[in-house]
């Protein structure tokens, strides 16, 4: 079995009276593509925000490669090897695609590397080398999603948190994104993927964690998860009981 790259124990996050993440445990094996699914408002992005340090934990612990992330600021978590592609693409609009990715290459994991080589590699993996010199402003949604991934992997992470990379993409673009994520894994980067497109999720994920209302309700292979009654209930609601005659 692969070593565990990221683990969470009893992860809790309260926002005033609302419990967004409720005692969630997880273990993400290195080298896998792991899925995180759940209905809207289930707490998926909150969990990513807790891992990246945008939010502080209310309770529990998250460990990356065995090291507790408590008190470590966001930029240091990235330099430790955690990268994130945002749900809503956040390009640096005034900079070119190459410059956007170069920021990740310069400030990511602190090691002596040729930044331009890193940028070229990220462009190649995501398939956007042909638009490297265009400014990010005005790019299509599909290209922006790839730019998010390229910029994140330019930081040379061990773990990529990909937050709905297929949202808003057409079937062709979705397939390209799936291939792109496979390429990322091919480079030895573990991927934790939040996604609503079940076809995409089940086609590339080794295992899937399902949360609903902040709680973990299922975990397993794609086949196990899609047939899990708790998951079906979370997505479709409980079956209506026929009144007794």
């Amino acid at each position: 079995m692969n070593e565990i790259i990221l683990s969470g124990r009893g992860v809790v996050k309260h926002f005033a009276g609302l419990t967004a993440t409720d005692n969630v445990d997880f273990d993400i094996p290195a080298g896998s593509i792991y899925g995180l699914i759940g209905p809207n408002g289930a707490g998926k992005s909150t969990l990513f925000n807790l891992i990246t340090g945008y939010y502080d934990l209310t309770g529990g612990e998250i460990r990356f490669k065995g090291t507790s992330l408590a008190g470590i600021p966001t930029y240091r978590r990235n330099q430790m090897g955690i990268a994130r592609a945002f749900q809503i693409s956040k390009p640096f609009p005034a900079l070119t695609v190459r410059e956007n990715i170069r920021v990740g290459a310069i400030f990511g994991r602190p090691e002596k590397v040729d930044h331009e080589k890193v940028v070229d590699e990220a462009l190649a993996i995501t398939g956007i080398a042909d638009i490297a010199d265009r400014t990010a402003e005005g790019l299509t949604v599909g290209t922006l999603r790839k730019l998010e991934i390229a910029r994140a992997i330019a930081t040379r992470p061990s773990l990529l948190l990909a937050d709905e990379p297929c949202a808003g993409l057409n079937p062709t673009e979705t397939q390209e994104m799936v291939n792109c994520l496979r390429n990322v894994r091919g480079k030895g980067i573990t991927v934790w993927l939040v996604e609503h497109d079940m076809k995409a999720v089940t086609s590339i994920c080794d295992r899937i964690l399902v949360i609903d209302a902040g709680r973990k309700i299922a975990e397993g292979t794609p086949a196990e998860v899609v047939s899990n009654p708790n998951v079906i209930t979370a997505y479709l609601g409980a079956p209506i009981e026929e009144p007794a005659a």
Partner: protein, 323 residues
């Protein structure tokens, strides 16, 4: 532009600047001096406001602090050195004090973003100005003297013309170095999207503080030299809101966040206000205001932004024709 051409142009500019006061007379020497001072201020402001996107509406606080710090250094400790060299330590002290002050307020104030930071800085400028004006020890209300020890026989306007020219070149070099360094990339990332920058490994707090301290130090130094150049000043001479506004307007007109935009914006605005409109004193502010509004509406990216767009458009057409 290749390096040798740039070097040649730089040398030619230095020669022209060196001999200009001989030809242009005292009035235009003062205008040129004002240009160097204002352009240097705009560059210093641009390091924070243009590169990192943190617009300060209260940078005049560092001009005032710098001027008063130099004056009180001289009155409390006395001039150290002789002639023009006696200015060195008070000016360095002024820069250091402004840098330290910026460092102290940086952490709380840089947690504010956008207009909140801008207004908070406006408040800082007002508060410090009022303190200097009302606490007797500072003598801000009655004013302080700062002697201008020009080297033997040189008119003061010529002397400060050269000093401000040297400071403009220094600020420009610092700005170029910052923009092309890791530090510069961090500031650009902060300006574009601070949260994303953090997720890309940029220690945003650290770089913002560095930019703030650097910008404040440069403005403090310029403020001290300005104090020497006017000789006598009160709070209202140096803690002036129009200084802060000019820095912003000059950058906007030339191209905010660019290297040479602040210089171009300053040149255009000073030419308009000091040269062209000097004959229409009763309506010059009206025309200046209308021109600023027109320029910002017509070329929102500033003069450099518009030129860049035009050349990029031409290059794209050429590329498509060649293809």
């Amino acid at each position: 532009m290749n390096r040798s051409l740039a070097l040649l142009l730089g040398l030619a500019a230095i020669v022209v600047i060196a001999v200009l006061p001989v030809w242009i007379g005292p009035f235009y020497t003062r205008v040129a001096q004002l240009f160097f001072f204002s352009a240097a201020l705009a560059i210093a402001w641009n390091i924070l406001g243009g590169f990192s996107g943190y617009w300060s509406f209260g940078h005049t606080v560092f001009i005032g602090m710098g001027a008063f710090a130099a004056a009180h250094f001289v009155t409390q400790i006395g001039p150290i050195g002789s002639g023009p060299f006696s200015m060195v330590l008070p000016i360095l002290f002024a820069g250091l004090l402004c840098g330290l002050f910026a460092l102290v307020i940086a952490y709380p104030i840089l947690r504010l973003r956008g207009i909140y930071f801008a207004i908070a800085m406006l408040g800082v400028g007002q508060v410090i100005g009022e303190l200097v004006n009302n606490i007797r020890w500072f003598q801000g209300g009655v004013g302080v003297f700062l002697a201008a020890p020009a080297p033997g026989g040189m008119p003061p306007e010529d002397f400060f013309y050269y000093i401000f020219a040297a400071l403009l070149v220094a600020c420009l070099i610092i700005s170029v170095v910052v923009r092309n360094s890791r530090f510069g990339y961090a500031l650009l990332a902060v300006r574009e999207d601070e949260d994303t920058a953090m997720m890309l490994g940029v220690a945003t707090e650290r770089y913002k503080i560095l930019a703030f301290v650097l910008s404040a130090t440069l403005v403090g130094i310029l403020g001290a030299v300005y104090g020497y150049s006017v000789g006598y000043f009160t709070t209202y001479t140096v803690f002036r809101l129009d200084f802060s506004l000019n820095m912003i307007v000059f950058c906007l007109i030339g191209g905010i966040g660019t290297l040479f935009g602040p210089v171009i914006g300053t040149a255009v605005m000073l030419f308009l206000t000091q040269v062209l409109l000097s004959r229409f004193l009763d309506i010059h502010l009206l025309i200046t205001g209308a021109l600023v509004v027109a320029i910002i509406l017509l070329v929102p990216g500033g003069i450099l932004g518009a030129l860049k767009q035009k050349f990029a458009g031409r290059a794209a057409v050429r590329k498509s024709v060649e293809a």
